[in-house]
Symmetry: C2
Subunit: 210 residues, 2 copies
């Protein structure tokens, strides 16, 4: 099974996935490309250093001009992304801190084959700064969620969730670190089930077939 | 500390609170009245059987007529409720399956002194049928939340939360039962902190003072 990783930052979940493939925790899978919308993403640099297929897909190359104003062409960008995924025979797309909404064209083509990890117990605290949202809300429990990606922001069917406590003297850094440690474990478990063909989606319900 | 219980159904949380007061898990407190908007509420009957001050506050007695149509007068009802709370020198109002939104007059008068337990990890799944909402969403984790009551529906500052797993073959009954067992424990812990004067509210953050 060919995995593509999409990332925008350091890609700590990418590194966890790579290690899990290397040590056999995720079987029947290989990472065929690591794609980023950020040239300076540390995760892209890591991929390069591993000798992996590391691709910077430059948003600046996808623009359109309207009334003399230049706009980012999201559809053209994702069309190029889709071409890359197809060219690499990608079976599963794993978002790993990819700070860009994937458009409908990609989601439709890869329905049930794009997964994401989000640092909250969805549906609580979707979108950016989930850990900060949890702290500001005064939640006493948070966690992380691995889910299939649909057209909404962090709204797709949930594969797995795990919880972490929020302590009353927590700050964003501490809570993020606590959640991130769980993210690595949870994402690997979910991907391992996926690559073994054990996940079944029915409507919003994801179950593990036995 | 004088506690009022408001309930509409069997009041299993009321029974758990009563037991905790009886066995000392909640100290410095007594239940001075159990109030219900439902005459047939089993919780009200239990209170009567214990010889407690069990009060049915009949919604049918609070109506106003407009253009010949009779409406429930929510404000008049809650004004009577407020009178009851004051007459009983109530310090803390515990909602225990009270299926009615408490109006602003009561909330303002008892700011920081009304608490509720809700069968989900708020802010996920507020309002009615929280367990069913969690199942329909395909959540893998749910739980319960004790919170101060504010003007919104299940939006007040969170005191405590605890989690339960959602199993893939769960139904509403099984999940509700699993959550309810945790509700009893969590509500008692939160009330015990309250009656000891150990809870501090700052904005949305509730902390335990040491």
């Amino acid at each position: 099974m060919n995995i593509a990783i999409l990332l925008s930052g350091r890609g700590s979940n990418f590194l966890a996935i790579k290690e899990a493939i290397d040590n056999g925790a995720i079987s029947n899978a290989q990472i065929v490309c690591v794609i980023s919308n950020k040239e300076q993403a540390a995760g892209l640099e890591s991929a390069r250093n591993f000798g992996m297929n590391a691709i910077f897909l430059n948003p600046a190359d996808y623009k359109y001009i309207e009334n003399g104003v230049s706009y980012f062409d999201r559809n053209a960008y994702d069309s190029a992304l889709l071409d890359l995924l197809k060219a690499n025979n990608v079976d599963l797309v794993c978002l790993a801190g990819y700070m860009r909404v994937v458009t409908e064209a990609v989601i439709n083509e890869y329905a049930g084959r794009i997964i994401n990890i989000h640092p909250s117990l969805l549906p609580s605290f979707p979108g950016i700064d989930a850990q900060k949202q949890a702290l500001n809300y005064g939640a006493k429990v948070s966690g992380c969620t691995v889910h299939f990606v649909d057209k909404g922001v962090d709204t797709g069917p949930i594969i797995m969730q795990t919880t972490v406590p929020v302590f009353q003297d927590d700050n964003e850094h501490e809570l993020s670190k606590r959640i991130l440690a769980e993210e690595h474990k949870l994402y690997i478990k979910a991907i391992a089930l996926y690559t073994k063909g054990l996940l079944k989606i029915e409507g919003r319900k994801v179950s593990v077939v036995s």
